[in-house]
């Protein structure tokens, strides 16, 4: 039996780059049809916020068109079942099964030899580890599948390794946007099919699981948008032109769908002004941070200029209560003094 496992669609979210979540869902459903998926699991956060009735109707129609595939999903911490949630009043088509209850229930599907265990979020945060002591029914012939949403401290904490140890044939998880699989592949964090946030680094996509005598799991990346974090180490002697060239190299080709978050580290010449504005203007750069230090040795300087203005200046800053800001101030001060010394 072939299962498509996805989660964290976040329909309704604004994505500055890439395709809209609706497009992604359409794409995924089309793909499910193409590869003959019998069952589609959506492990929560289908919507980014409380769903509207018209949105549910739209999704419902899309799901209906996926027949004969069966679809099982639950609500996550973003689209949790609030008291006035439209989820409560909505009737889904025959092939769609919504695990809406707060407690974990086992849903035995009619047309497939599958029992899906899961529940929905009824609050924004659910810090209880509800999956810890869960066990499937040993007597059943069905495939026992767990549909879980969570995995961090405030949201039903668990690790993929823990879930692997429960006796489910497959644990389909959602909530963490980064796709991940357990060692055996029997527990999978689907990840968002497309990065939602610029901090969602790496490839994103969907998972196909083939349940047979054994469970085989495969990740299928969806291209078109990928964020990556690059550290660019500076050295004394580098000038603006060098920095810009390094930034361009790291940023990737326009049109590739690859976007970079650049972080400058290392030591640079004190008189080098990082061209952050120009770096940010590069097409493939979504974020640029300066964590580099000017090439000063503060302790040496303090010693050299003890009793003189620079020494006094650094000493005065060393006494400041907010040391984080003070260190930055020392850096700026030294840059300024060095700058003013050059006549």
């Amino acid at each position: 039996m072939r299962v498509m496992h996805i989660a964290d669609l976040h329909l309704g979210a604004e994505v500055p780059l890439g395709r809209s979540p609706w497009e992604i869902l359409r794409l995924l459903l089309r793909q499910a049809a193409n590869c003959g998926a019998d069952l589609i699991l959506i492990a929560g956060d289908l919507f980014h916020r409380q769903p509207l009735m018209r949105e549910l109707k739209e999704v419902s129609r899309m799901f209906e068109q996926a027949v004969p595939a069966e679809i099982v999903f639950c609500a996550g911490n973003h689209d949790y079942l609030r008291k006035d949630s439209c989820y409560r009043r909505f009737e889904w088509p025959e092939n769609v099964h919504f695990l809406w209850k707060r407690e974990i229930t086992a849903l035995q599907l009619e047309h497939l030899p599958v029992t899906v265990w899961g529940s929905s979020y009824w609050a924004e945060q659910e810090p209880e580890a509800v999956y810890r002591d869960l066990r499937p029914d040993p007597a059943s012939d069905d495939w026992q599948i767990l549909l879980a949403h969570g995995g961090d401290a405030k949201h039903r904490p668990f690790t993929l390794a823990e879930l692997e140890r429960l006796d489910f044939d497959f644990a389909a998880c959602g909530h963490i946007h980064k796709p991940e699989r357990s060692r055996s592949g029997r527990a999978v964090m689907a990840g968002a099919p497309q990065p939602i946030d610029t901090a969602d680094y790496g490839p994103h996509g969907y998972w196909l699981a083939d349940l047979d005598r054994e469970v085989r799991v495969e990740f299928h990346p969806i291209g078109g948008l990928e964020y990556a974090r690059h550290e660019i180490k500076l050295e004394p002697g580098m000038r603006r032109a060098d920095v810009l060239r390094l930034a361009e190299l790291a940023a990737g080709q326009p049109g590739s769908g690859q976007y970079a978050h650049l972080v400058f580290t290392g030591y640079r010449d004190w008189d080098l002004e990082l061209p952050l504005d120009e770096v940010r203007d590069l097409e493939q750069v979504v974020r640029a941070e300066d964590q580099s230090q000017p090439d000063f040795d503060f302790d040496e300087i303090r010693e050299t200029y003890r009793g003189r203005f620079i020494g006094d200046f650094l000493d005065a800053l060393a006494k400041e209560p907010d040391q984080e800001t003070a260190r930055l101030a020392m850096r700026y001060g030294m840059e300024a003094i060095r700058f003013a010394s050059e006549e």
Binding site: L52, E91, F309, L317, A329, R331, Y332, A340
Partner: protein, 602 residues
């Protein structure tokens, strides 16, 4: 630095003159117009250069000493020692072809004046600084704003490490520039957030307006529904009326039938006291419509027909008859059985007989007042009754039709209201989602937070720099004051021992009894104070290399005692001293004091 020898080729009124100077005190005596000022100017020009400047009203130094005969021949030579080196300096001041040569006499090395070698030997002192400190000319010539500026600059010139110096103002300018850039970026980011917020707020506004409209419509529907319910209630009473009317028409047989009997259960489900909003089933509103259709074929409707079909019967028996007959029978029995005394039995039997007769009579009478009456009426009356009945029937029919229509309208109204509720709920969810999105936008992004921190750090750096500069200035100010006090104390042998600068930067003298500003002192004392001040300032500004004191007629207002004090103090200094005088007073005093000096006559 010690000037050993000066050779003037052509400078002002001096031509081809040579002078040998002593390392200590040199008294240069000359009458007025002998060329003392010229020599002074020459010495300074040799050391610091001479440039033609543009001055509006007075003659600049260049023009003043420019030879009128051969302008190109405007030169001289100096020989001086600095440290343990001896140098030879030749300069031509002709502005069109200025020239200079500086040679180290000991090793022959040629240095460059243009590249600042001479300046370095002089300890980097500017002509201005020199003229306001160690080169004192005239009396009553008090240092003012220029010296104050020089001192302030020097105080800021604090990280001197040989030839490295920096200006505080330039540092601050750098920090300000950085801050401006960061703030600009911060504002950009904030503007972006504001833009997005505005967009969302616009949507929020639009949805709120729609919500208002929907809610207004709901009120209207609610109103209509309330009125409809009210009307239903009235309809119900009308039904009751109709029923009673019917009963009356059908006569006294309307005995046991209770109008409205069993009607309770048949009351329609949309009755005003039954239904409440919350009780509606959680299924789609489309179910409601079915109910509406059901209502058209209502039960109670049919009940009324039943009511008409019921026979309007009355009672056919009377309890009195039974009692009477029963009594008669019992009495008879008792008499037969000889149990009852004859007389009493007769009385009883008569009683019971009477009761029986009366009851029968009553029955007969009632029967007479039955609907048999109408049958006895004449045909005209009957017809009229018939017409009335028909009339009432028509009215009832019309009322019933209207009621059905109202029921249907009410159901439709309820349906529309349900749909409206759904839309209102939808809008409300949208609003709550928007509110969430707006809340998220209120939070500063990471970058903005970092910018805020950097700006704080820049402020801290600037503030700390200014504080330190102020402290240093204070220290230096203190040093200047302290040194002046020392010098003055030395000069006056302890008579005045404290000098401060007041808020205006004017030295204030303090002796044991009072504080006096310089202006209030006698000229001689004032001159002395200013001299001390200048000497102290000179120590600060010319600290790298001890330059010669150039003193021109400074003792004019000094009394003998003061002059003696000052000469003694000067004698104790390690600097070369040039005393330009037009009187013999200084010479004589020096001799009297036993201070060695060289006399040079112009």
């Amino acid at each position: 630095m010690i000037i050993r020898h000066a050779k003037i080729d052509n400078y002002g009124k001096l031509q081809n003159r040579e002078f040998d100077f002593a390392p200590g005190i040199n008294v240069i005596y000359g009458e007025n117009e002998a060329g003392k000022s010229t020599l002074q100017s020459f010495l300074k020009s040799m050391l610091f250069g001479l440039e033609k400047t543009r001055r509006r009203n007075e003659l600049d130094e260049y023009s003043r000493y420019e030879p009128w005969n051969v302008p190109a021949w405007f030169s001289g030579e100096l020989e001086f020692s600095a440290g343990d080196q001896v140098f030879s300096l030749r300069r031509n001041f002709y502005r069109k072809e200025p020239d200079s040569r500086l040679i180290n006499r000991l090793d022959g090395e040629e240095l460059s004046v243009d590249q600042g070698d001479l300046e370095m030997l002089l300890g980097g002192v500017s002509r201005e600084a020199y003229e306001h400190t160690l080169a004192v000319s005239g009396s009553g010539n008090y240092p003012g704003a220029v010296l104050a500026d020089l001192l302030r600059d020097e105080m800021q010139n604090m990280a001197r490490t040989g030839d490295n110096s920096f200006r505080l103002s330039r540092s601050r300018a750098y920090l300000e520039q950085k801050k401006r850039e960061l703030n600009r970026r911060g504002r950009e980011l904030q503007a972006e957030r504001t833009r997005r917020t505005e967009r969302l707020k616009d949507r929020e506004e639009a949805i709120r307006e729609e919500l208002e409209r929907l809610e207004e419509r709901r009120l209207v529907l609610q109103d209509a529904q309330d009125r409809g319910q009210e009307q239903l209630r009235l309809d119900f009473f009308d039904e009751e009326e109709d029923r009673r009317e019917n009963d009356r028409e059908l006569g006294a047989e309307a005995g046991n039938d209770q109008p409205g009997d069993g009607r309770e259960d048949d009351r329609p489900e949309t009755g005003w006291h039954n239904r409440r909003e919350e009780d509606r089933p959680e299924t789609g509103w489309h179910n409601r419509r079915d109910d509406a259709e059901d209502l058209a074929e209502d039960d109670w409707y049919d009940d009324e027909d039943d009511a008409e079909d019921q026979p309007a019967g009355g009672r056919k028996w009377d309890p009195g008859v039974i009692i009477g007959v029963a009594g008669l029978l019992i009495c008879g029995l008792l008499v037969q059985m000889h149990r009852f005394p004859g007389k009493a039995a007769s009385v009883l039997m008569i009683l019971f007989g009477v009761i029986t007769i009366v009851s029968i009579v009553r029955l007969i009478v009632k029967g007479h007042h039955a609907p048999e009456d109408p049958e006895e009426d004449d045909p005209a009356e009957e017809e009229r009754q018939e017409q009335l009945r028909a009339e009432r029937e028509r009215r009832r029919e019309a009322r019933r039709e209207a009621q059905v229509e109202r029921r249907i309208a009410l159901a439709k109204n309820a349906g529309e209201k349900e749909a409206l509720e759904e839309q209102i709920r939808e809008r409300r969810t949208e609003l709550s989602n928007l509110a969430e999105a707006l809340r998220e936008l209120e939070v500063r992004s990471e970058e903005e937070t970092e910018i805020a921190r950097s700006v704080r750090a820049l402020d801290l750096a600037e503030r700390t720099m200014a504080e330190q500069a102020e402290k240093s200035r204070g220290r230096m100010q203190g040093a200047l004051e302290g040194r002046t006090s020392e010098i003055l104390e030395q000069m006056t042998a302890g008579r005045y021992h404290e000098t401060k600068a007041n808020a205006a930067g004017v030295p204030v003298l303090a002796d044991d009894s009072r504080e006096v500003t310089v202006g209030a002192l006698s000229a001689g004392t004032a001159d002395q104070v200013w001299l001390a001040w200048r000497m102290a300032a000179g120590e600060i500004l010319c600290r790298e290399e001890p330059l010669p004191f150039l003193m021109d007629e400074i003792f004019s207002f000094y009394d003998d005692q003061r002059m003696a004090e000052t000469l003694n103090w000067l004698a104790g200094q390690h600097h070369q001293i040039f005393l330009f005088c037009c009187q013999h007073r200084e010479e004589q005093m020096l001799e009297r004091l036993g201070i060695p000096f060289r006399l040079i006559r112009m």
